[in-house]
Amino acid sequence: MIYLKLLLTFFKIGAFTIGGGYAMLPFIEQEVTKNAWVSEAELIDFVAVSESTPGPFAINIATFIGMKTAGILGAVCTTLGVVLPSFIIILIVACFLKKFRENKAVKGGLTGLKPAVPGLIAAAIISIATAVLAPDGFSLEVFKSAAFYYSIAIFGVGVVMCFKKLHPIWVVCVSAVLGIACGFIF
């Protein structure tokens, strides 16, 4: 039953990621590739789309994966799945907010969870980078393709733009234009 599986998977993702959108990406990537719901390339494309459309990143990605895997009902399941844990947990926390913030167990758990997030994102970046730079797997052939080099160049431009604090939408737009230009030239 695909709908139930989507709902439960995204419920799990929603319940076990702290720190929002990008922190969810490693988890989503692992689940999506394991179940072969969308390809790695599609996932990356949709990270870009999510950055360039309004709304929370996590909801955009969840809706997209549900939609691609099982249509509108699938999208309802993934979105509901990712929202539900938040909703339930916040309702519980809101009832005793002060206690929650000063709770030693919560604080202790967060001491371990917070530094784990960059580690997980770094791991996701490795597999995403492999999919971007060497879509057919790493071999000497990779270094012969023009796409490899201009991808690195576009990546470089993107990094500079990010650190100049330009909005992600601009990074997406500029990379798109450069991608089209390079595609026609090479």
Partner: protein, 182 residues
């Protein structure tokens, strides 16, 4: 009833007009919910952000649920959350159809080849920002490195990594407290 409709509409607006989610929403939440409506006090914003950050799930959803709940109880939480989710959902469902239709177009394919490299840059930047925000001590670095190796090299399920990190954090902070008492 009017309260609920108001909550729903305000969060619909917040959901429809912020790009990038969570943190990008906070200034808008501040303007709409604190300054214009006075639902929450300005100094409460920081607390709301702190709770939204330290509970599981998307920050935007956590913040919306929390503000809705404080202002109008369970149904307030429900309508605020629905409001913040709905624009995303509708836009993405529509986009998926467009996306499929243009997938095989040559220009679109080239554009996405470029965009993928750009996204990699966005991810590196997100990683850098998060790295800067973590505490600079040996324990943090060990957890960070262990989480990375567990997933990148050993392909451990992230669920276990998350649970493991929380448990280690718990053990570590109790040990620190004990030592401080002595």
């Amino acid at each position: 009833m009017k309260k609920l409709l108001e909550l729903f509409l305000i969060f619909l607006k917040i959901g429809a007009f912020t790009f990038g989610g969570g943190y990008a929403m906070i200034p808008l939440i501040q303007k709409e919910a604190a300054e214009k409506k006075g639902w929450i006090k300005k100094e409460d914003i920081l607390e709301i952000v702190a709770v939204a950050e330290s509970t599981p799930g998307p920050i935007a959803i956590n913040a919306a649920t929390l503000i809705g709940f404080r202002h109008a109880g369970f149904f307030g939480a429900f309508f605020a959350t629905l409001g913040v989710v709905l624009p995303s959902f509708v836009i993405i469902v529509a986009l998926t159809f467009i996306f499929e239709a243009f997938k095989n177009n040559r220009v679109v394919a080239y554009a996405f080849a470029g965009i993928r490299a750009g996204v990699l840059a966005l991810l590196i930047h997100a990683l850098y920002t998060m790295f800067k925000q973590t505490q600079k001590n040996a324990f943090s670095y060990i957890i960070m490195g262990a989480a990375f190796i567990a997933v990148a090299v050993f392909k451990v399920n992230i669920l276990f990594v998350v649970i493991g990190a929380a448990v280690l954090g718990l053990v570590y902070s109790f040990m620190v407290q004990r030592r401080a008492k002595k």
